[in-house]
Amino acid sequence: MTELADTASAPAPSLSTRFEVVPIVLFAAFAAAPLFATYSGAEGYVLSLLTRVMIFGIAAMALDLILGYGALVSFGHAAFLGIGGYAVGILATHGIEDALIQIPVALVASALFALVTGAISLRTKGVYFIMITLAFGQMLYFLATSLAAYGGDDGMTLSSRSLVAGSRILKSDFAFYWMCLICLLGAYAFSRSVVASRFGRVLRGTRENAIRMEAIGFQPFRFQLAAYVISGMMAGLAGCLLANQAEFVSPAFMTWQRSGELIFMVVLGGLGSLHGAIIGAAAFLLLEEFLPEILHGVSFFLAEETRAHLAENWKMVFGPLLILIVLFVRGGIMGLLRRPRHG
């Protein structure tokens, strides 16, 4: 109720500009990070970690587009990471190593998969939608494990990163970092535009009240399907980047756990605030990375043996921690940033 009261007292335009500082700070931090990486002494490590953060940021943002703005809980979005990854991997094994071909192919493949599975899934609602997207995701997962020519269960190692117009520029971790940042920025700008556009307004309206939208003449299905395709393509792009980052592709790209993680990132960051999804992805990956050390550090009062134990079994803390954050920080991290004083 306080939330509603807040929006009532504040005129609409300033409401949207007030929080612009968050994305600016976020992207400035990503832009400045390579500098920090150079001085950290662990350049490769920092760069690769942050590159992963950005890639998952793109994927989480893609999911946020339909989950946060369309209330469509896709539990199979990792499939698109797989499609992007395998497009790069499969084309590379056939000698097509240029990103200028790989990425368009990945986007088209993602779009087709989204179009077909979306057209079927979107006929259902609620839990059924969740289950059917999960089923499609699993279908693709098992397909990948059965691709013996492309590594089957084990996946395949890429001989190198993709070329860009014949040049090996992405070999440099810095160059690849910048490419990911540009993709992230592009995806963010595009998503922002989509959300505010006529199209996005129909999508948001449908989330609030589908019957009302039909009663003024919209056919929600078309808009939801288009959003699903856009989201799938964006996640497919993230898949291309992920394959290049890891220089490896495997069915593990598209496990249902991965789909679940994407949902978690979006909810963690705060539904329906694009940059929130990026922050959610960052929080998730960084926690995953540093929780063992953090646990070891904060448990200084315990016996050394217990501390080691705790750090080793950090996942036992990770899960409940995420659940607590989601339960008690309504609106995710963006919710916290919005109301820093009176939470």
């Binding site: 509603l4 609409a12 505010a196 199209f199 996005g200 307004r201 003024i216």
Partner: protein
């Protein structure tokens, strides 16, 4: 007599053994304000659902502007100019009143597959939306999130949204339900102004409003139309009086 704008032919709808719409045939003339009255549970809302396409009929047909629209979906019927409001307010609570209406304007003003440009700043959508809000007496509240409007204001918003779809015929399901006296007066005034410009099917329990606004009145009891006539003759109809006995005082 001119060709009716809306014609219902032997419409039927049953929930299991409960027949809610029982062989309803009705003709609404262009430009008229046609009221449908009837006791609670008579099947008025169900009939609106069937006319608007919210609900499929078991049998019978709906003709609109001379064409059979029975198999069309609700959005398609809206496209033909057949709009409705809801008895239980149905709005987009997170959107401002203006945006609720602007979306309805957007629905019929070209493609909504536009991914660029801020829709909420589009003058071409906001201007007509503002006009509709003003017609419904809600101009001053345009920028309030609609979830925060009072109950009566939400009813006015329903009306404004309906107007914004530029319908030929507007189906109104109890626009006065639960409104205070002032708000109710405002809605009645709005309807009076719309009358003649727009064909209206009005469902309403407020008999005073019905008899002062309607050109013709149909009485629905247990899913059947027992009478269709001018307000004066309906009031005098003994069958109608019997149906209402113990229900409500006829004015």
């Amino acid at each position: 007599m001119a060709e009716p704008l809306l014609e219902l032919r032997n419409l039927r709808k049953a929930y299991g053994a409960l027949v809610v719409t029982d062989d309803v045939s009705l003709a609404v003339q262009p430009g008229e304000l046609h009221a449908i009255i009837g006791p609670n549970g008579a099947g008025k809302t169900t009939l609106i659902h069937q006319i608007s396409g919210t609900l499929r009929s078991d049998s019978g047909s709906v003709l609109f502007a001379g064409q059979d629209v029975t198999s069309l979906s609700m959005p398609q019927r809206v496209g033909r100019g057949l709009a409705r409001s809801f008895q239980i307010t149905s709005i987009l609570p997170g959107f401002s009143a203006l945006e609720n209406v602007a979306l309805a304007v957007q629905a019929r003003s070209g493609s909504s597959f536009r991914f660029f440009g801020n829709a909420s700043q589009e003058k071409a959508l906001n201007q007509p939306a503002m006009d509709c809000l003003q017609q419904a007496g809600l101009g001053a509240r345009a920028h309030i999130p609609s979830g925060l409007l009072s109950h009566g204001e939400k009813r006015q918003l329903e009306l404004a949204i309906g107007l914004a779809t530029e319908p030929k015929l507007l189906l109104l399901d109890e626009p006065l339900a639960g409104t205070g006296h002032d708000e109710s007066q405002r809605v009645v005034e709005t309807l009076r102004r719309l009358k003649g410009r727009l064909t209206i099917v009005l469902i309403e329990h407020d008999m005073e409003a019905v008899f002062s606004l309607a050109d013709r009145v149909s009485v629905l009891v247990y899913g059947r139309v027992i009478a269709t006539d001018t307000p004066g003759r309906i009031r005098a109809n003994p069958e109608v009086r019997a149906a209402y006995l113990g229900e409500e005082e006829m004015v």
